[in-house]
């Protein structure tokens, strides 16, 4: 079962990558994605944000996304770490790391997991801007990104 974690604490990308490859000699490739809070969204300055989630379903959704990636590509392992709670610009929100023998699979699976996570995992961002608090709206481009995996697209 892939390693999935939801936590308030920061994570160390290097340690997550090391944990994925530790003691293994059959891994030729690790593709990693780290998502961070930007100080600008939809044209407005963002001073901080809060990430809400659906405890229980979040872990299930992430495990389901990982299982889909494992079924679709020849991977060695993968892990997902997602933060919740208060975050500031520059903070890392999410890490997806995928190991495989060759790089093509690792890249494709890492991008697939991110695209699915963006549309399927129950997290919601609330930003603080000068105009006050606001819930971040879902992006149509994220739906498009997730959909291409089911339409024989760039995968």
């Amino acid at each position: 079962m892939p390693h999935v974690r939801v936590q308030e604490a920061p994570f160390d990308a290097g340690r997550e990558i090391a944990a994925l490859t530790e003691g293994r000699r059959d891994v030729g490739a690790v593709a990693t994605f780290v998502g961070l809070v930007r100080d600008l969204n939809e044209g407005d300055a963002v001073s901080r944000m809060t990430l809400e989630h659906y405890p229980g379903m979040t872990e299930r959704a992430l495990e389901d996304i990982c299982a889909q990636a494992l079924a679709r590509w020849d991977l060695v392992d993968l892990r997902v770490v997602h933060r919740v709670g208060p975050l500031a610009p520059g903070d890392a929100i999410v890490l997806v790391a995928v190991s495989s023998a060759h790089r093509g699979e690792a890249f494709a699976a890492c991008e697939f997991v991110m695209d699915y996570l963006k549309t399927r995992a129950p997290f919601w961002k609330k930003e603080v801007t000068q105009a006050g608090e606001r819930w971040v709206e879902a992006r149509a481009s994220d739906d498009d990104a997730a959909r291409r995996w089911s339409e024989g697209g760039a995968g």
Binding site: G35, L51, E52, H53, Y54, G56, M57, R60, A61, H82, I93, V94, M114, L117, K118, T119, R120, A121, P122, F123, W124, K125, K126, W135, V136, E137, A138, R139
Partner: protein, 84 residues
């Protein structure tokens, strides 16, 4: 009875995070449950008005209007997700 959960902007709009409700009679589905919620006061009828964009999970799996419901289910309503 089923447990309803509301998240994010939907929770704030309804001013409700969690409640227990009786299932509609007959063969209840997410759709018939939503009709019952829509028959409530202004906040619920507005939040679940036709054309409003919400998502639903039943027992922590993404579901749809046709998904059948049984006593004890956990039904969660929320806006489109924005994680990552």
């Amino acid at each position: 009875m089923v447990t309803l959960l509301y998240f994010a902007s939907l929770r704030e709009r309804l001013d409700c995070a969690r409640e227990q409700v009786a299932l509609p009679a007959g063969a209840p589905t997410v759709g018939t449950l939503v009709e019952a919620l829509r028959a409530r006061d202004g906040r619920w009828s507005e939040a679940f008005a036709p054309g409003r964009d919400w998502r639903v999970a039943v027992n922590q799996q993404m579901a749809g209007a046709a998904t059948p419901l049984k006593p004890g289910d956990e039904v969660a309503f929320f806006p489109p997700v924005t994680g990552g």
